[in-house]
């Protein structure tokens, strides 16, 4: 399916990452936004509040982030593509209903422009310490998808990818940007509408009599309906059967939760998205994402100049984690150097996959500002020792 030209601002623009996220949503066909203001994500909401009505879309400022996430899910079942945007404290409040979206298999997108935490932390300064919260933040067992843009251009692109993945896999998809990327202004090229491919909602073609709301297809994903089309469905956060009705047994739990997990895990190869820079001959590979991946570039260049074969594996999609790729590289290289703005989150995921096949080093940072490339360079030197 092609994008609707109404939402696509084709051309060259100078936009910050937040505004680019808003344009990505418009291009992706998002027509419902509910949110609560929070720095450094508010510019997304501001742009949406101006741009959405123009094309018949709906913006609503809710009373808090629990309500925002709830309205986003409600809108999806009313037939809209929907999203919200927030940062740390709001992300914590959204966790309850992100779990419900996973349970109800509701396509929707949540953008988190990460700031320094914990708690109120550093509202106007960057962080990357919500990565594990993105993965595990709501209670219970489920899988989500999370993407990490590293430029305004990529904010635009990744938000479209997020919508497509959320439709395809019927999961809430998280865009884990950071304050630097959200607030930096760069050139953003928006293509023509017919060059933007969208994954359409998986509406069923079955009649109401044949249709079962949670009966999965071969790829483990069920087909969707919306209110008012004659299906009179029931959806619930309780463990449910294929009809959608609550069933309080371990067998029903096993069947449902296993599928919620496997629909992502078994399709991980198809979902994974990384960028590799000079990894073919590398002895040391920097694993990074978001703004940190850009700060690492000068360190890699300096090392290369000195004859150290350094490269980068950048996570465009952090969850599901590119396990196979990391394992494969670990067998060939001397070390992974993980650069992230926290005290070790994706780092432990790398360690888990490497299983001792190569060294692993972490270059941590508490957030508030980016790494000093010199510290990354030093870690590369340390890695080849």
């Amino acid at each position: 399916m092609k994008a609707d030209p109404k939402g696509v601002l084709t051309g060259e623009h100078y936009l910050d990452g937040d505004h680019a996220c808003a344009e990505g949503a418009l291009a992706a066909g998002c027509r419902f936004f509910a949110g609560y203001p929070i720095t450094p994500s508010t510019e997304v909401a501001e742009r949406v509040s101006e741009r959405f009505p123009d094309i018949g879309g709906i913006f609503i400022q809710m009373e808090d982030e629990m309500g925002s996430m709830a309205a986003v899910i409600g809108a999806a079942w009313g037939g809209a593509k929907s999203m919200t945007v927030t940062s740390g404290p709001g992300f914590s409040l959204m966790m309850e209903n992100i779990g419900l979206a996973a349970m109800m298999e509701t396509p929707c997108v949540v953008i988190n422009v990460q700031r320094g935490g914990p708690s109120t932390g550093l509202p106007t300064l960057p962080g990357q310490a919500d990565m594990m919260q993105a993965r595990w933040g709501s209670h219970g067992d489920y899988e989500i998808i999370a993407l990490c843009p590293n430029s305004p251009q990529e904010c635009f692109e990744v938000v479209i990818e997020a919508f497509n993945l959320s439709e395809k896999y019927r999961v809430p998809v998280l865009v884990m940007a950071d304050e630097c990327v959200g607030h930096m202004t760069e050139k953003v090229v928006i293509p023509k509408a017919d060059e933007i491919k969208l994954y359409p909602r998986r509406y069923t073609k079955l009649s109401p009599r044949e249709y079962l709301p949670f009966k999965p297809g071969k790829d483990l994903i069920p087909e969707m309906v919306k209110a008012g089309d004659g299906y009179k469905f029931h959806i619930t956060g309780l463990t449910h059967d294929e009809k959608g009705y609550p069933v309080m047994t371990w067998e029903a739990q096993e069947k449902l939760v296993r599928r919620l997990v496997e629909k992502i895990r078994l399709n991980a190869d198809e979902i994974v998205h990384v960028e590799e820079i000079d990894t073919e001959d590398a002895e040391v590979v920097i694993l990074s994402y978001g703004i940190s991946s850009r700060v690492a570039i000068p360190a890699i260049q300096k090392a290369r100049k000195e004859g150290i074969k350094a490269g980068q594996l950048r996570l465009v999609i952090a969850w599901p984690f590119p396990e196979k790729k990391v394992r494969e590289l670990a067998k060939k290289i001397k070390a992974f150097v993980v650069v992230e703005m926290n005290y070790g989150q994706m780092f432990y995921e790398v360690e888990r996959c490497v299983q001792g096949d190569c060294k692993t080093l972490l270059v941590p940072h508490g957030g508030g500002w980016v790494h000093d490339p010199e510290d990354i360079y030093k870690a590369i030197k340390e890695a080849i020792k």
Binding site: E50, G67, I73, T236, G237
Partner: protein
């Protein structure tokens, strides 16, 4: 199922989800019956109705009725309903909630839904307790009544739910009881017809927990209490003030006009497009 009138039967997921979870004598089923009869009278198709609930005994209602039904998270049904209604304003969106659901964990959503004035119909089953979790005191438990977490008597003051809704800006507020079913049916009908946010507070009873803990008798006794304590608003002027003190008013308590949000948002869209 033969005991259920034909009209009601038509709207129930009888083959799928019965028997229900409610205790014998509970007021929630009476409320469900009144809602169904009101919808039937209004000749709404089952498919244009969306019923959204939170969590609680009362919030279990949607699974039994054959509409589009969303059973969501504790306290948040009004926020979910906001999304559904805005995404597809042609739908009739009815929210079922309890006193704990709407006023404790969902208090913020409640007052803002009143104020925002989206065309939603909110039926709040006020049984003065947290039924589902075992009879703890709720924001509408009267002063000094017993709850399983207030074994020495509840020392907090109860919300006057209808007054709270009026003060929060709801344009239509009514109160009924599980006892006065005919009136309740009419109130639900009026609320559903109202353009804008409407609340029907239903004074109901939980004989299993609240009734037992407070020695209020069985379901019949509790229904009799409702009969004895409800004063129709039309008669309030004729009752001496001292006799009103321990009573509550029923009927349409508040009915004003205020611009409805979805219609206002259409104007926003028109304005944005005009400026281009």
């Amino acid at each position: 199922m033969e005991l259920i009138p034909k009209v009601t039967h038509h709207y129930l997921r009888t083959k799928k989800k019965f028997p229900n979870v409610w205790c014998a004598g509970c007021g929630i089923g009476i409320v469900m019956g009144a809602i169904i009869r009101a919808i039937d009278k209004l000749k709404l198709s089952r498919d244009e109705v969306v019923m959204v609930s939170g969590i609680g005994c009362s919030s279990r209602m949607p699974v039994y009725v054959d509409f589009n039904t969303l059973h969501t998270t504790h306290g948040r049904p009004l926020a979910f309903a906001t999304g559904v209604k805005l995404a597809k304003p042609s739908l009739k969106v009815i929210v079922i909630t309890g006193d704990g659901d709407a006023l404790a964990i969902g208090g913020n959503h409640f007052i803002h839904a009143c104020r925002r004035n989206i065309d939603l119909t909110c039926i709040l089953v006020n049984n003065q307790t947290y039924g589902m979790t075992g009879g703890q005191f709720s924001p509408s438990t009267p002063f000094m009544k017993i709850g399983t977490t207030a074994p020495y008597g509840n020392r907090e003051r109860a919300f006057d739910i209808s007054k709270l809704a009026i003060a929060s800006g709801a344009p239509f507020v009514a109160r009924g009881t599980a006892y006065h079913v005919v009136q309740l049916e009419k109130l639900v009908e009026q609320a559903t017809l109202k353009k804008g946010f409407s609340l029907v507070e239903v004074i109901s009873h939980c004989p299993t927990l609240y009734g037992r803990l407070n020695k209020e008798g069985d379901a019949v006794e509790m229904l009799k209490w409702q009969r004895g304590h409800a004063i129709p608003i039309s008669a309030a002027g004729k009752v001496p003030p001292e006799k009103l003190r321990d009573k509550f008013l029923t009927g349409v308590l508040w009915d004003i006009e205020f611009p409805e949000y979805c219609e206002e948002y259409d104007k926003v869209i028109a304005e944005a497009q005009r400026r281009d």
